[in-house]
């Protein structure tokens, strides 16, 4: 007995030592568990988010003659604009017949609807292209546009001065919808305009005017 007791005591000491180690290991495992992390990703949209494309266009024209190419479109989104042929503009005279041009415009956006407005802008004078203030003030403009899918009432304004046509509201266009805007131009005589200058003073004069179409997406 006296020999066995120390042996058992030593064994118990060893077991306590190992059990103590076991507790330490478990505690360490518990501490590691507190740092478990994970993440999960989630994409919105199969191809992400896109900013919708909004674009209005006018009919394609020859860059030199301004002759239209129906069914083809161009951006015309530079300050210089694009030329469009106004048949008879070079023969217009005071009190004479009106000349007109129909300009196809379209909302080239695939999803967005568009408001539409048109304004006349005087082009800056150049060495050869100089606008006569008297000639410009004797011009009268009429604008028409048929109903569109978004606006049932046709547009029709007549006898407008250049200054009055700075921002005419046109009918709205649905996505990819096209519409024709017709501009008619006359040159009033002195009787009709009440101008101080004579009709003959307008002989050989010119006006360089740009029609600017503007839209805002809806």
């Amino acid at each position: 007995m006296s020999i066995q007791n120390p042996t058992h005591k030593r064994s118990r000491i060893r077991k306590r030592a190992f059990l103590g180690l076991g507790v330490v290991v478990v505690a360490a495992a518990g501490f590691t568990a507190a740092a478990f992390t994970d993440f999960a990703n989630l994409n919105l949209g199969a191809s992400g988010i896109g900013a919708d494309t909004y674009n209005i266009q006018v009919v394609q024209t020859d860059p030199l003659t301004g002759v239209q190419s129906p069914g083809q479109w161009q951006e015309a989104n530079t300050a210089a604009g694009v030329p469009i042929q106004l048949v008879g503009a070079n023969t217009i005279y005071p009190g004479g017949p009106a000349v007109s041009v129909t300009i196809p415009v379209r909302n080239a956006s695939t999803t967005l609807e568009s408001t539409m407005s048109m304004g006349l802008v005087q082009l800056p004078d150049t060495v050869t292209n100089i606008t006569s203030a008297n000639y410009l003030s004797s011009l009268r403009f009429s604008v028409s546009q048929p109903a569109t899918s978004l606006t049932a009432t046709p547009i029709s304004v007549t006898g407008q001065t250049f200054a009055q046509l700075s921002a005419l509201q046109l009918n709205e266009l649905a996505a990819l919808e096209a519409s024709d805007v017709t501009i008619t131009v006359t040159l009033l005589d002195q009787v009709a305009s009440g101008a101080a200058y004579t009709d003959n003073s307008l002989n050989g004069q010119k006006a360089f005017v740009q029609a600017s179409f503007n839209g805002v997406s809806n």
């Binding site: 190992f18 999960a40 990703n41 989630l42 919105l44 199969a46 191809s47 896109g50």
Partner: protein
Amino acid sequence: MSQNHVTRRRLSLRSVTTVVGITMLAAVGLTAASMVDWEETIVSLSGTTNTFDLQVAGSDDLSWTPQESSWKQGTESPEIVILANSLISPGGETKALVAVRDASPRLNAVVRLGVVPPPEPNPLFDALRFTISEGSYVYADSAPASEVSSIPLTGDITSMNYRLLTVVVSLPSDAPNSLAGLTSPLQLRFTGENE
């Protein structure tokens, strides 16, 4: 006499040999006892229910609630939420519901939500604004992506429960025309740590 001296010396050698032999056996016994006790402590360690796992789901149907089949890991590859309206124009927005579940068997989770910048710089992404809410609680209101990179969700998510958030992505009404036609990847990331 000389024989007696030889005999005593041999006895002395035997005694020495016997003592050495006993000492070696004791050392072997001690080593064997150590191995047995060590194995017993190893068996008590098990982490089979100690896993930590987050899962995600989402929809652009604002009446949606996640079903069991909805949950995806979203770790190796992201879960994709199809948006019927993924094109937005200035002043417009698109909405989606996103959900995160703590799929751990018994561990609770502390979770953060962040909008992940695209791999390539993108002016559209920079212009987007994010409104993130959970019920009536608003985490972010029309904030740029830089301010929603890591938003802590309120409270813990308990084991096998989920949280449902509304994400509204909008484009300010004064966004420039130069953004028209651009697209940007848009990834949300839930990160979590067990509590």
